[in-house]
């Protein structure tokens, strides 16, 4: 299969990756080559096979409903690139 340019830009938008035109073309070619290789997967007969999302076979790995410590606000915000008082700040949500 051949990946179209607008498929690449669509995927980049879903992943919120800002790509230059030149990057779009480069990734188009590289992803195309990788997918051509990966397409071999389609030849494996898996009609009778279950999916494995996790290895280890654990189930019901839950905890009891108990409160723990929160971070002090200053620590919670310490890494914020932009903050306004005790909030994280983001630019205008203008779409």
């Amino acid at each position: 299969m051949t990946l179209a340019r607008d498929q690449v830009t669509h995927v980049a938008m879903l992943a919120r990756l800002g790509l230059s035109d030149e990057e779009v073309e480069r990734y188009r070619q590289q992803l195309d080559a990788i997918l051509a290789h990966v397409d071999r997967l389609q030849q494996v007969d898996t009609s009778q096979v279950a999916e494995t999302a996790q290895i280890g076979g654990l189930v019901n790995a839950w905890r009891e409903d108990v409160r723990g410590e929160c971070l002090p606000v200053e620590k919670a915000l310490a890494n914020a690139p932009k903050r306004r008082r005790d909030h994280f700040e983001v630019g205008a949500i203008q779409e």
Binding site: Y27, V44, T46, E51, I55, N79, G91, A92
Partner: protein, 490 residues
């Protein structure tokens, strides 16, 4: 202390010949001498001092109770979080991120008295097989600085190979501990998935990631593993099964063991020098009393494709939190979408973007069944084939990598780079324990022997590896460091 093992350093500490602070200072200057190789991103400074003090106190309070790692300096990969120490995952997007918490594996090492000295360079978000994808520059291989140390835990492998620290921590998602261990001529152990908590490990692919040690001796790797292993209530995927004491297995040799050699792992693509070294290693194991059995893992070829769907798919979600809101790089633009696009477009390097794109594509509407779902099914087949093999053999032995360390820049095509992982990544897909240990030199460069065990049989893997190690001298080979690199460590 250059080249000394955990055991040797521990003995000197207990004899009072040195102190944790002194060892840390020596490690620090030995690491600084490696600057030209660029394996270290930063030193842990205040933490080192604090922890050396704590270790000294533990040794003074009760030398018998202090474990084997007490007072021993080490380095860890730049994907592990320790409160107050910058962790950037080799990425510009996380530059300056200082975790307000300490991950479980590191916390357990700190409780054991080990003394962190430095944070090591790695491929960005642990994605790579050569350490050329670090946003902070590549790492040189101590055996030949013009060559790569392997990846993604290249810095951690290099500092141990160069003798600057007796052990280090790496992470392995598709071979990122074993392959650099092979390239650098040290032991590198990836435990069973779920055996060491991932809490505090900046996730690449959650269902594959595992933390493990690099060391110059299998026994040292075993000490580090023992200190870190065991159930963690903060990691829902960590195994609640009790940890089998490694000490009960080490030293028991391989006499009477059945060791499988996967036919597909010895097929085409092995460099001649690797093939020769592995053949000699297999012969050695036989000489030690093991029975070699050829086994087949037919889905080996499909494993690569499976891996390169599952790992990117998981990473595309895992890296979504790098959005410039709560931490890390933020590139301000007028609209929210443009801010996201620019922050992530500028913050991530090419390989990370490539994998996010690949994973996003594989999960996207219309492609999920063909790629992601199919990959999950093939993953089942791969795991089942290993299970079947382990019905007849105790462990598998094979090469870690089909090639030795290659020159920097040699594999600019992403697919050719991915193909390097073909012998390590099936182990991650099946969640098995695996180790790479030095088993020879090919044109002066180390070759690694991989030992793979059934799930939770970590001790058995270490036992086989140690039996081989004790019968050979490859682990004593040290890189012929060029003068610019050697410097004069104390």
């Amino acid at each position: 202390m250059s080249g000394e093992t955990v055991g040797e350093l521990g003995a000197r500490l207990r004899r009072g010949e040195t102190t944790p602070g002194e060892l840390a200072a020596q490690a620090r200057s030995a690491l600084a001498a490696l600057d030209a190789l660029h394996p270290v991103l930063r030193y842990t400074e205040a933490l080192t001092e604090r922890q050396a003090g704590r270790a000294a106190q533990m040794l003074a309070d009760s030398p018998e109770q202090a474990g084997p790692l007490c007072g021993i300096p080490f380095a860890y990969k730049d994907v592990l979080c320790v409160e107050g120490v910058e962790t950037s995952a080799g990425s510009k997007i996380l530059q300056g991120f200082i975790p307000p918490y300490t991950g479980t594996a590191l916390a357990r090492l700190l409780d054991a008295g080990a003394v962190p000295v430095a944070v090591t360079n790695c491929d960005e978000f642990a994605m790579g097989s050569s350490n050329e994808n670090s946003a902070f520059g590549p790492v040189g291989n101590p055996w030949d600085p013009s060559r790569v140390p392997g990846g993604s835990s290249g810095g951690s492998a290099a500092v141990v190979a160069a003798g600057a620290v007796p052990f280090s921590l790496g992470t392995d998602t598709g071979g990122s501990i074993r392959q650099p261990a092979s390239f650098c001529g040290v032991a590198g152990f990836k435990p069973t998935y779920g055996r060491v908590s991932r809490y505090g490990l900046i996730a690449f692919a959650s269902s594959l990631d595992q933390i493990g040690p690099f060391a110059r001796r299998v026994a040292d790797a075993a000490h580090v593993f023992t200190a870190m292993a065991g159930h963690d209530p903060r990691d829902s995927t960590s195994s609640p099964a009790p940890v089998e004491p490694v000490s009960e297995q080490l030293g028991r040799g391989v006499q009477g063991m059945r060791l499988g050699v996967p036919r597909e792992y010895m097929a085409e693509g092995l460099e001649p020098g690797v093939r020769t070294a592995i053949a000699a290693a297999l012969a050695q194991l036989e000489k030690l009393g093991a029975t070699l059995v050829e086994v087949s893992l037919p889905s080996t070829e499909a494993a690569l494709s499976t891996y390169y769907i599952i790992a990117p798919a998981e990473c595309s979600a895992n890296l979504a939190r790098m959005d410039g809101v709560r931490f890390g790089l933020h590139v301000d633009r007028k609209s929210l979408t443009d801010t996201y696009l620019e922050t992530r477009g500028q913050g991530f390097g090419p390989e990370v973007k490539r994998r996010i794109m690949l994973g996003t594509y594989a999960l996207s509407s219309g492609y999920y069944d063909a790629y992601y779902r199919q990959a999950q099914k093939v993953r089942t087949l791969i795991a089942e084939e290993f299970d079947r093999a382990f019905e007849t053999v105790d462990a598998l032995v094979c090469p870690t990598s089909p090639i030795v360390a290659f020159p920097k820049g040699d594999k600019s095509d992403p697919l050719s780079m991915y193909l390097c992982d073909v012998l390590t990544l099936p182990v991650n897909l099946a969640g098995l324990p695996g180790i790479s240990i030095p088993c020879g030199l090919s044109e002066g460069l180390p070759v690694g022997l991989q030992v793979i065990g059934p799930r939770l049989q970590d001790a058995r893997v270490l036992r086989v590896a140690q039996a081989y190690e004790q019968a050979t001298a490859w682990h004593t080979e040290t890189p012929p460091l060029p003068p610019a690199v050697t410097g004069t460590p104390s």
